[in-house]
Symmetry: C2
Subunit: 358 residues, 2 copies
């Protein structure tokens, strides 16, 4: 079979080495004669896995000691509710509205307190990241969406919040670049882009905020529970956490986040250069300064050509290039596990397609 | 390596055939050149998997058409909260208190309304299933725990509730026997015993109760959301759902639930016969008429002998025989995927151990 290049927005490509390791070990983990799929989450073998996954995330991301790392379930979508349920407590929070994912976070927060939309990019169809903000003096936190997979925009630098904790949905770009934890109160991320397979959610919460979480919540919905029980209050998604450990080992082998960031920049540059150098055949949809390095969104001269492009690309082995159904167009998601070689192959295909379909 | 027999209480043994199939397909699902770990949950390939998983569960369990089948996250522990959040609505519910799992369900329900403990087995350390109930006339539902993994007791016949919907936590014995949906309003079950790997929760809810669910809940916590979106409101735990499909195919290959039930009865009989025939060396902890066919709990003459038993069993390849830390003793969990041959091997070991350690 011809090589397949996976440009899905999520669940998304995983490193081939990770999948091969998971496959090789699936019937017998570390020679114990049992599968990761059937061992107790309270066994020494699984404890070693979850501890290693956490340690590697801490080390790669440079998580300061006064933050708790948790592995939860329900995806970022559940976090949209858990964040205000735990942290808003009937008060006020600032949200920056940058697209579909921010919108969902805002909707859930309104159930638990007052939401001030401190800035919105709705005026230009969410094609840019706002630069001026109407922050509240009494906000409990400021919520931003680090990268919008649908609009293809990404924060380069997070806003200065003057001591108010930033809560960042990093589902689609965590571990793609280095980050500075200054001002950050919380990071959350569904795993299925750069962390691991679908079914686990990474939460990193500053300890003073853990302690300040609302009381009286359903046990499973309180961050206090999972912080206290080290993500083992109940049975966690063991296999997904195991794959996270393998992905972190893979990132280490790449040279850590600095190296990964460099490759991601090269990949994004190659694709955007191809778009910008196409004499207008391909048109990027995001403002140039806010272009996402994870999700490259673009249009062709017509919807018919876009459909033809997606179909011919698929036949040539490039999977998942259709834009999100809510906006149409095309999208190439180029998370960590997509190599520069895959992007270069796509660029070649794009050039050939443009030449043949003027 | 010597053959390992997995008696863990959960996550628990999966059929060897299922794990081999998952391993063989891990890098290339159905010849599409991509892994189940990296394909979109909105792809045709995944849609076929989740639809097949649901259809097979419906067929094997005999789920009537007026029930919705959902694949959620968070385990039974999250359901302890979601059930009253959706169904109690400030009203009253009857709970039968049969042990640690019922206790947790009761605790969460109290956050959302009035809980009437209609019967409790606490007087005898949860070693039996109550037979008389103080049901409320105005209960919105009656909650029971089908099988208690710690006490090793199991309902043989669910109580007559005179039209009040039964809500049953079947985490540890679903798909181990046939059930009658009469009176049942809802079934929920964490997957990691008889359904599949940890990280997915099965919910089966009668459609009139879906419609009656509370309004104004966090989107991800409302059954209405998941019923409407067919478990695809957000990214589901794709791999775990894929393994569920394989486990259902395995159950079909065994001859369906009637056949599985017969083997489970033979397995339980073999173990309890060994206990009862040991001249008191092994003592079952559950009332004879309520003995669980999934979790066989027993004591030895002393705690020292119990420790020796667990350790020597482990050396001989019998894993996970230690009782739950809250009650001590020994426990053999014999879910669907444990064959009669594994139980017979354990019985032989038990007889040998008793002879050598009088």
């Amino acid at each position: 079979m011809a090589k397949k290049y996976n440009f899905y927005a999520g669940p998304a490509i995983l490193p081939q080495e990770v999948m091969k390791k998971a496959q090789a070990e699936l019937l017998d983990l570390n020679g114990i004669g049992l599968s990761i799929l059937e061992i107790s989450h309270r066994s020494k073998d699984f404890e070693a896995i979850i501890n290693a996954a956490e340690a590697k995330i801490r080390s790669l991301l440079g998580v300061p000691e006064n933050y708790t790392v948790m592995f939860l379930q329900g995806g970022a979508s559940l976090q949209f509710g858990m964040v205000p349920m735990n942290l808003l407590k009937g008060g006020k929070a600032d949200y920056v509205h940058t697209g579909e994912w921010a919108k969902k976070a805002i909707k859930e927060a309104k159930l638990f307190g007052t939401v001030n939309v401190a800035a919105s990019a709705e005026d230009k169809s969410f094609s840019y990241i706002p630069q001026t903000f109407n922050f509240s003096a009494d906000a409990r936190y400021v919520h931003v969406t680090s990268n919008e997979t649908i609009g293809g925009v990404q924060w380069t630098k997070f806003p200065e919040t003057n001591g108010v904790p930033l809560v960042i949905d990093m589902s689609s770009d965590i571990l793609s670049r280095r980050i500075d934890f200054k001002n950050i109160g919380m990071i959350y991320a569904g795993a299925q882009k750069n962390i691991g397979p679908a079914g686990v959610t990474l939460v990193i919460l500053r300890n003073d905020l853990v302690e300040a979480c609302a009381d009286g919540l359903t046990t499973m919905l309180s961050y206090k529970t999972h912080a206290k029980e080290k993500s083992l209050y109940n049975t966690p998604p063991c296999f997904a956490i195991y794959v996270i450990k393998l992905v972190m080992e893979w990132i280490e082998a790449q040279g850590g986040l600095a190296a990964v960031e460099k490759v991601n920049e090269a990949k994004a540059k190659a694709l955007y250069d191809a778009i910008d150098g196409s004499d207008g055949y391909y048109r990027g949809t995001a403002a140039v300064q806010d272009r996402s390095k994870m999700n490259v969104t673009f249009r062709l001269p017509s919807e018919e050509l876009e459909e033809k492009f997606v179909n011919e690309a698929k036949k040539a082995g490039f999977i998942g290039l259709k834009g999100h159904r809510s906006v149409g167009g095309c999208r190439a998601s180029i998370y960590n596990a997509m190599g520069l070689e895959g992007v270069q192959a796509l660029v070649q295909f794009m050039e050939k397609f443009a030449g043949e379909n003027k």
